[in-house]
Amino acid sequence: MKRERLTIEQLLGVDKFVVDDQEAHIRLNKEHCESCETKPCTFACPAGLFAVKDGAISFDHAGCLECGTCRAVCPKAGTALIWCYPRGGFGIHYRYG
């Protein structure tokens, strides 16, 4: 029997977010990412927010579940990836948890 798989867009689509349009809580210094060979963030992020497009890394902070996995797996956390939680009241808002 074939079972329904959801795409990450569909999964994030059921979540409630208060997106901060003014301040991105996670920032990439992409020049540092160039020399990152394996780019583990592209596999590990549970929201699938990191992708490689035309050889360069792309990232979107909307949709972030604030888990901290990217910070844990990034070999250059602190330089390539500047991580903090969103400002108070912004970001993911779990209704169940």
Binding site: D15, P40, F43, P46, C67
Partner: protein, 431 residues
Amino acid sequence: MAEDKFTAIIVGAGPAGSTAAYVLAKEGHEVLLIEKGAQPGSKNMFGGRMYCHALNRIIPNFWEEAPLERPVAREIITLLDGDQSVSVSCQDLTWTRPPYHSFTLLRAEFDAWLASKAEEAGAMVACNIRVDDLLIDSGRVVGIRAGEDEMLADVVIAADGANSVIAQKAGLAQMFAPHQVATGVKEIIELPPETISQRFQLDGNNGAAQLFVGACTKGMQGGGFLYTNKNSSSLGLVVNAAELQRNQYRLPDLMEDFKTHPHVAPLIEGGRVAEYSAHLIPEAGLAMVPQLYGDGIVVVGDAAGFVLNLGYLVRGMDFAIASGEAAARAVMAAKSQGDFSRQGLGIYRKILKESFVLRDLEFYRRAPEFQENPRLFQTYPRLATAFASRLFTVDGSPPVHLLQKILREIKESRLGLSRLAIDGWRGATWL
């Protein structure tokens, strides 16, 4: 606000922070509980279930008022491998009667309730505020900064969870290594209550907790879980971050593979996904416990690495609650001496040692090392499922005795009896 000085400012309204605030406020102390989410709980997720013992000591019969889902009556462990699986299921109905053993629950509701208990007891609860930094004066923590606001306290309690930035800023904790944490992802899947009860053979509102090992993580260190709520199931996966760093699978894909696995899909068939969530879990036990206190600061809950994962059970909520209580007691002791220095707060460790928190973490100190054994997630699930399948298979081929069946499977797994013996011995003595 800077003119009011609190006895304690607590950063984070998870179970650790809210318990600390509740205990302190109940004894009449001025406490401020700060949470970055719009409500306590709105940033939090977990597997599933809380063991009752810790909270019941602080709020007796809390189940009469707390928002809970189901008392867990059935525990199931399932080893998965491709087409085959083996499950062990244990049901104990005494667990579903007071003083209840454990409840499944949803954090958005539960954490909000626990924070409201702290508020009722007199704590000030401030949501929508992210604490950005600590105020440090001559080496001692004297308060916090959030945006432009500065607030002062005798003690800051870092209850900010697994990604504790506060403990790091105080110089008490270092950034963890990838193998010391795991990422959990979960889907809330809505189903009618009777359907859930039927699928897990549960009487009425009784609940089930099921853990999966093996194919669900494709052999990576970690596992799957399913907890039944009233009208939803919490289905998810936990994978060690060092494994994720190896770039074999994308986590959301792994989750969908698990959900559609033929041994899992029937459990949630027809359900509607209501939420997708993710969170880190500290996994290294004692090895990642930071310095637990410093001048004017105490670290509690996940921020202190207080989580125990034995493979067949996961505990973090009860540790968070008991460590929050211990911190509150330490702050009160320090206050009575008028000494909030490192030395004055040193009693925190003593209280933790006398409670189950450090006792249990020390008792199971080798459990994290045991879990790093890759055979647990691949070879053994395969071996167990193959053996069980052979046990039940009748196909006309010549019969063999049980011992031979076992030996044949072990031989085919290319495991080696000595390795099996070592792993078995470790499992029996470390877990």
